[in-house]
């Protein structure tokens, strides 16, 4: 097996910016590294996704290194619409008006016609500036059937104190456009119950843009021979069209109506047109003999009223000269957005903003996984991993009443992730 060139901690710390900038500027060993990954993501009776990623990092002559990432995502399956269950079967129509689905009585409506493909390209270049600093620039472009994104990013790192400390700052700007078939729906307008003709759906509608600005400040510190620590502060500001055009809310009968809680009709959601997200992230990695442990914690808060805690733990077991086993545990918890409503009530004033998107409610998630990496030939490794992801939310939010009290408004999410990667040292 070809021995990888020993990496200086300088290279490792430069990778702090790599982590900030996303793909394209990783401090790979030797002349570089390529990685080809395939991920299969499968939710029980819901979405199935396949993701293929090709990632290349290569050192060029002189102070430059480049990175390239190509991604393909294919998704299909059923996803919750945000609508409320009914005691009778419901017929729901896609926001595009193209198809309708029959939802069994008492079940959370799922749109089972969900299907999308996504292609993305990310490229970046890093320049070493003197012995102590790096400059990085990159770009992003991606396209889906109903969504496109263009982005640029840049960052700088600087070492201090005999390269034991590295400060990094990175920023990015994205311009994304949502273009659902049939046009972006009008907030709180009723969802049509009849399908519309193909011709109408193919009418051109202008896309709805949003801009996202990100800033990440990072401090990394070598603690001792076996320990490295970093803390990041991230700030993300999004403005523009932040609605999900495929999410709806049910308007249910009020307490004084004949059948309290029973859905009458569905309306489109409406979210604020701006959102500021902040997060503090701390990570410590320590060598324990030939093994190592990585523990990180993130506290997240945003202007939509969401707070979240995330704990990630990896333990890397050295099980031979060229193989390792890495168990992974992750705990996640979030509070609900200020404007989350499981449903709206008929004859009660409509709030300024409302969404029944299950991702905006109170929920806990748990991940357990195992990764095995082993050498397949000189300079090449195969990585296999399997993970189980489970999400549990508020089955009966406090405002639930009438017939809604008898339903589970947050069916759990259980997903399996299987991934295979081939890594080549260049």
């Amino acid at each position: 097996m070809q021995l990888a060139k020993p990496r200086s901690i300088r290279t490792g710390l430069a990778a702090v910016t790599a982590a900030l900038l996303g793909p394209g500027v990783s401090g790979a060993t030797g002349e570089g590294q390529s990685e080809t990954s395939v991920l299969i993501y499968s939710e029980s009776q819901r979405v199935t996704a396949v993701e293929a990623v090709y990632d290349l990092n290569r050192h060029l002559k002189g102070p430059y290194s480049i990175g390239l990432t190509l991604t393909y995502d294919g998704l299909t399956g059923a996803t919750p619409t945000g609508g409320a269950p009914s005691k009778i079967p419901q017929t729901i129509t896609r926001p595009s008006g193209g198809t309708s689905t029959l939802v069994p009585a008492g079940q959370v409506p799922l749109d089972n016609t969900f299907k999308d493909n996504r292609f993305a390209i990310d490229a970046g270049i890093t320049r070493q500036v003197g012995r102590l600093a790096t400059l990085s620039f990159g770009g992003h472009a991606s396209a889906e059937r109903d969504y496109s994104s263009l982005g640029v990013n840049g960052g700088i790192t600087r070492d201090f104190f005999r390269k034991n400390t590295t400060l990094g700052i990175a920023g990015s700007w994205f311009h994304d456009v949502t273009s659902p078939k049939g046009g972006a729906p009008i907030p709180f307008a009723s969802v049509p119950t009849d399908t519309v003709s193909t011709g109408e759906r193919r009418e051109h509608h202008p896309g709805k843009p949003k801009n996202i600005n990100d800033l990440v400040v990072s401090l990394s510190q070598v603690i001792d021979r076996k320990t490295i620590f970093r803390v990041n502060y991230s700030y993300d500001r999004a403005t523009g069209y932040l609605n999900d055009p495929y999410k709806v809310l049910s308007v249910v009968q009020g307490l004084t109506e004949p059948d309290p809680g029973e859905p009458l009709f569905n309306v489109y959601e409406n979210r604020p047109d701006n959102r500021t997200k902040r997060a503090v992230f701390g990570e410590v990695r320590r060598s324990l003999g030939r093994n190592s442990v990585d523990l990180s914690y993130r506290y997240f808060w945003d202007t939509w009223g969401i707070r979240s805690h995330t704990i990630d733990l990896y333990y890397n077991f050295h099980v031979g000269d060229s193989s390792s086993l890495e168990p992974h545990l992750r705990f996640y918890r979030q509070s609900r957005a200020d404007f989350y409503h499981p449903f709206l009530v008929d004859s009660v004033p409509v709030p300024q903003f409302a969404s029944a998107d299950a991702r905006l409610t109170k929920l806990n998630a748990f991940t357990i996984g195992l990764r095995y990496v082993f050498s397949i030939e000189a300079g090449s490794r195969l990585s296999l991993s399997a993970e189980y992801y489970s999400q549990r939310g508020d089955r009966s939010p406090p405002e639930t009443f009438g017939t809604q009290s008898g339903y589970n408004l947050f069916p759990g999410l259980d997903a399996f992730l299987l991934r295979a990667s081939i890594i080549h040292d260049l």
């Binding site: 982590a19 996504r118 076996k226 995330t310 705990f331 979030q334």
Partner: protein
Amino acid sequence: MKQLWRGLVAIAFLAMLTILGGCGVVGVKAWQRDILARPEMQFDNHLNNRSIDDHVYFSKEAASGGRGFGGGGCGCN
């Protein structure tokens, strides 16, 4: 459940502090970087896998960012 979460966060902090607290003087000399130079001690080791995981979480949860940039680039959330 809330108490369980507080406990988990407290344990995570204590574990971080314990790991950091046993370290004595902060920083190393140039000739003491042998262990830190190992691939498994790099924060970007398996970065591609972490990015793919983060993409999944980005599409299923409200929070994002922290490890890197937090938004944009995908219509999945």
